[in-house]
């Protein structure tokens, strides 16, 4: 396509901003329907308990109560499904317990819904919910994945012995990797926890379900990242109601970060109940309820070993991970620690032998699923921590160690893609490029000098590196299908040219902060040569958008944008026929640029607007051509996209207190071609804030009773404005060779790259002061860092 035209590559201000900065955004909780009722859930205060009885007598008599449902009322309804099947090594399918809309027999985590009260007002629903008397019999609890698999641990589900959902491996045969590591001159071993974090979108999950008895149609407003997926899962797998009689709307959504991909029990329950009471029902999570019931992220316990030869060349990598899946399988729960984690363990390196072994484990905790980055941050953390630690242990420079192991540059066109040991084929890359640029921005030599001087003066300065890769643009349907996905992962883009030449674009992608209404409009404006004001991007409504798989995995522009491009190509092709007829020329002789259809080599032309009008007023029109100018395309990518980059953190650690100050953060990201640099930079900023958050501040803390002890913003440390320096960002461009825009995706890069850079920097600071520390458990609180300095690890 012509990318020279117009708006591509410009930092166009976001068209969606005006409604947000004036308070006119329309989020689910802002919507009130006629005869609205409100729901409040009764949730288990115990992590594991038998439900002996539920007494509703008092609650039913409370003012304003419309209906109350318990597990018994929904026992015949299916649970919410899991969208990804991971098999055991022996081929058995994973253990898949029912994830009921309301539990009947047992509660399996704090927050498990036991009953729902529907009342005239929010307050009445809440008051009555407090009067639902549930008789619980407490059961023993298991919260830690590595401990839950041990004999004698309490069982979360009877159908999963030892709490194992699956055991899975990928890569080279284990014996080959064992041999490679046995032959290694140096072996770096790291046992660590990638702690559980809470996504914490500031808009809590919110649903409003309505039923119209006349048309027999349901409408569900939901704070989701993928309305069509929710409709499909809910209709076909849970409620068994006809899909064409259900409209799912994802209006403005206040952040998702993965947690709003999944189909939650509350969505299906409200949709089921609204028909029973024949009134709309709204539920919005309270903040602590969000902490307890939004799917969490990460939570891996891992042992990783990397072998090197005497020159620092990597010979092999062996990984064993226990992945905590929580009490039930969330929509993509099993996929995250396996196909989004194991497949990324090649990193940017030529490692010839890799074996990864993952055990998925049930525990009495909130379900775990994709959180910004999803599996890829865990893989990157593992590799990049190993690299910096190995450099310390071998007394090599960490940048030099990486340069010795990088896959050489390849563009995926002249040079083929790179086939990894763990199933993927990278599309294009120039890994040395981003590191070299990062080192320049840092002033590496000067920094090391400064660090030495600081150490002599008793100050601890450190630098940490992370050179990451991720698999985005999720995903080729055939590939993910062969890996266990129970859905296709294409995207739909429809372009409807109105008779006046104005354009409505319908996309299955969903924006909840990414600025699609701007980026997509830039693409369309450039391709059609018309002003952005003439373009409307429609998303988030199953009644107006034909179909869609939604937004996650940094896929919107690479997959959703490509679908729009396909439709634009069809528009232009048909437009050429219409224009050629008008100009009495051959369609093959037509060219289209800057909004004009021109007969090649002449000044005979007709404008895009004229062609649009002719398509709808087809008086002078080709005989064999249908009227109208409206095309839809389903785009299924040929491969994932593989953004990569280099993140560098500089920290100072206060000796007496262990307090970490992040002094500089440098991010050089290669996300392929860039449509709107301002939006890409914003995505990187946000990703880095969340990744640094995991390194320094955040972590879900369960006690041994399965209580989430920090389920408020007072107790869970969210990154705030004063926790960061200004970020120093730069980009490199290695286009994606297999999609029409050459884009790779930018939504998750910041989160994936940043976490290990920060932890590596703190460890480096400690080594500079003589503390040969291998690991500090995240988040790196002052106390943990201080303790690490008191007990140097013998290596």
């Amino acid at each position: 396509m012509s990318t020279t035209n117009g708006m591509i590559g410009k930092s166009v201000k976001r068209v969606e901003d005006k409604r947000f900065i004036t308070g006119k955004g329309r989020y689910t909780d802002d919507i009130v329907l006629p005869l609205q009722t409100y729901a409040c859930f009764v949730r288990s205060p115990y992590a594991h308990a038998k439900i002996v009885g539920v007494d509703l007598e008092v609650a039913k008599a409370m003012p304003g109560v419309v209906a109350i449902y318990t597990g018994a009322d929904v026992a015949a309804i299916n649970g919410v499904p899991c969208g990804w099947q991971v098999n055991f090594k022996n081929g058995d399918t994973m253990k898949e317990p029912k994830h009921a809309l309301l539990v009947e027999d047992k509660a399996r985590y704090v927050g498990d819904a036991v009953a729902v009260v529907i009342a005239e007002t929010r307050e009445q629903a809440k008051d009555a919910a407090q009067m639902v008397l549930v008789d619980y019999e407490e059961l023993p609890v298991t919260v830690d994945a590595a401990k839950a698999v041990k004999p004698g641990a309490p069982l979360v589900h009877d159908l999963a012995p030892n709490n194992i959902c699956f055991d899975w491996e990928l890569g080279n045969p284990k014996e080959e990797v064992d041999q490679a590591l046995a032959d290694a001159a140096h072996l770096t071993t790291l046992e660590f926890v990638n702690q559980r974090v809470v996504p914490n979108a500031i808009e809590p999950r919110s649903y409003n379900a309505a039923y119209d008895a006349v048309s027999e149609k349901y409408t569900l407003y939901t704070s989701t990242q993928n309305p069509h997926v929710i409709r499909l899962l809910m209709c076909a797998f849970v409620l068994g109601i006809p899909e064409h009689k259900v409209r799912v709307v994802g209006p403005d959504v206040g952040g998702g970060f993965g947690s709003k991909i999944f189909h939650y029990p509350e969505e299906a329950l409200l949709t089921w109940a609204t028909k029973n009471i024949n009134r709309p029902i709204k539920w919005t999570a309270e903040r602590t309820e969000s902490f307890l019931t939004d799917a969490h992220g990460r939570d891996h316990v891992t042992k990783a070993e990397m072998g090197f030869d005497t020159t620092g060349k990597i010979l092999g990598l062996r990984v064993k991970t226990y992945a905590n899946l929580g009490a039930y399988l969330s929509t993509f729960g099993p996929c995250v620690p396996t196909y989004l984690h194991g497949t990324l363990l090649q990193g940017l390196y030529t490692t010839p032998k890799i074996n990864v072994d993952v055990t998925g484990v049930f525990t009495n905790t909130t379900p775990v699923d994709a959180y910004r980055g999803a599996g890829r941050p865990e893989a990157t953390y593992l590799l990049e921590r190993l690299m910096d630690l190995a450099a310390h242990e071998m007394e090599m420079d960490p940048a030099e160690l990486r340069l010795r192991n990088f896959i050489p540059p390849f563009d995926g066109v002249e040079q083929p893609g790179f086939q990894t040991q763990v199933a993927l084929q990278y599309d294009s890359g120039n890994y040395e490029g981003v590191l070299t640029k990062g080192l320049e921005m840092l002033g590496y030599k000067e920094f090391r000098q400064k660090q030495q001087e600081a150490a002599q003066n008793g100050k601890l300065l450190g630098v940490g590196f992370s050179t990451y890769i991720e698999a985005c643009g999720i995903a080729p349907s055939a590939v993910v299908g062969s890996l266990g996905a129970r859905a296709g992962l294409f995207e739909v883009g429809q372009v409807r040219v109105q008779p006046t030449g104005k354009v409505s674009v319908f996309t299955g992608s969903h924006a909840h902060g990414q600025g699609h209404e701007t980026t997509f409009a830039q693409v369309v404006a450039s391709k059609l040569g018309i002003p952005m004001e003439d373009i409307d991007i429609v998303h988030g409504d199953t009644d107006s958008v034909a179909f869609g798989m939604g937004t996650y995995g940094s896929r919107s522009l690479a997959v959703g944008g490509s679908a729009i491009i396909r439709s634009l190509e069809k528009i232009i092709e048909k437009g050429k026929k219409i224009a050629a007829h008008r100009l009495e020329a051959n369609a093959d002789d037509m060219e289209f640029e800057h909004g004009q259809f021109t007969v090649k080599g002449t000044d005979k032309s007709v404008s895009f607007g004229d062609v649009a009008l002719t398509a709808y007023v087809p008086h002078i029109y080709p005989k064999d051509l249908e009227p109208g100018l409206d095309f839809s395309s389903f785009y299924d990518p040929a491969n994932f996209t593989y953004p990569f980059g280099c993140h560098i953190a500089v920290v100072e650690v206060e000796k007496d207190t262990g307090k970490v100050a992040l002094q500089r953060f440098i991010a050089v990201d290669d996300v392929g071609n860039i449509i709107n640099p301002m939006i890409v930079e914003g995505q990187i900023h946000g990703g880095v804030a969340q990744g640094v958050g995991q390194a320094l501040f955040e972590g879900a803390e369960y006690d041994s009773n399965g209580q989430l002890t920090n389920a408020t913003y007072m107790d869970y440390c969210m990154p705030r404005a004063d926790d960061f320096p200004l970020f120093e960002t730069a980009t490199q461009v290695t286009p994606c060779p297999h999609n029409p825009l050459g884009v790779k995706g930018a939504g998750e890069a910041g989160t994936i790259g940043s976490t290990p850079a920060v932890v590596n920097a703190v460890i480096d600071a400690l080594w500079s002061g003589g503390h040969q520390v291998k690991d500090i458990r995240m988040p790196l609180t002052s106390e943990r860092v201080w303790r690490a300095m008191q007990t140097p690890v013998n290596t």
């Binding site: 802002d30 008599a61 500031i202 959504v253 939006i679 404005a721």
Partner: protein
């Protein structure tokens, strides 16, 4: 971390409860023993108590007058209703957002008599006679407030959910004279969480408004 910052920056202004007749309600409720006995009383008594509560509630609307975004509102509200719920649920001014309902995220920040206040921690009855400005009332008709312009220019938002609170806080931050440096802005904006992480751009937007010298 959160405690200090919230206390220091987005602290709701201390306000008097203008002597409204809460005492009557309390006395009445004491008589019916509903508050104390709710959890301990047998169901039959509870039913009676909840009826009393219902009757009591009908008489417990407190009359207040608020000036909201330049419009005078004469209202009757239950004493337990927060300013946030009054704005969102009763007046349909949904621009002000509820992110936590505990004064820990800043999404509900509004101005009361020009000072930033967390609407979720403030009862509506405490605001009688006061001037409230919400995000809907910040622009002068079609003309955006300079802070709104700056947020667009510097890309100070992504999903937009925390944005009304950020902007109301940002305006107050400049008015309070706490926007003199990047560090000071970061500190005095730390009561407003942005999970999208637009902090660098929010800081730049505030710096520009501060340095532009326009009246905010």
């Amino acid at each position: 971390m959160s405690i200090d910052k919230n206390a220091g920056n987005n602290q709701p202004a201390a306000e008097n409860n203008n002597g409204l007749p809460n005492e009557d309600r309390r006395t009445f409720l004491k008589k019916t023993s509903a508050v104390v006995a709710l959890a301990l009383t047998p169901p039959t008594v509870l039913k009676a108590a909840s009826m009393d509560e219902k009757i009591a509630a009908a008489f417990e609307q407190v009359k207040i007058t608020l000036n909201i975004n330049g419009n005078r509102h004469k209202l009757a509200v239950e004493p337990r209703v927060t300013l946030l719920d009054l704005l969102r649920e009763d007046l349909k001014l949904t621009g002000t957002k509820k992110g936590c309902d505990y004064g820990q995220c800043g999404a509900c920040t509004v101005h009361v008599n020009g000072q930033r206040v967390l609407a979720c921690l403030s009862l509506a009855v405490m605001q009688d006679g006061k001037k409230i400005t919400t995000i809907e009332g910040l622009a002068a008709g079609e003309k955006l407030h300079p802070m709104q312009e700056a947020f667009i220019k510097h890309d100070g938002l992504q999903c937009g959910y925390c944005t009304p609170g950020q902007i109301m806080s940002a305006v107050a931050c400049v008015r309070e004279g706490q926007a003199n440096s990047e560090g000071q802005i970061r500190e005095y904006m730390s009561g407003n969480i942005c999970r999208c992480g637009a902090y660098p751009n929010i800081v730049n937007a505030i710096l520009e408004v501060k340095n532009g010298g326009q009246k905010v």
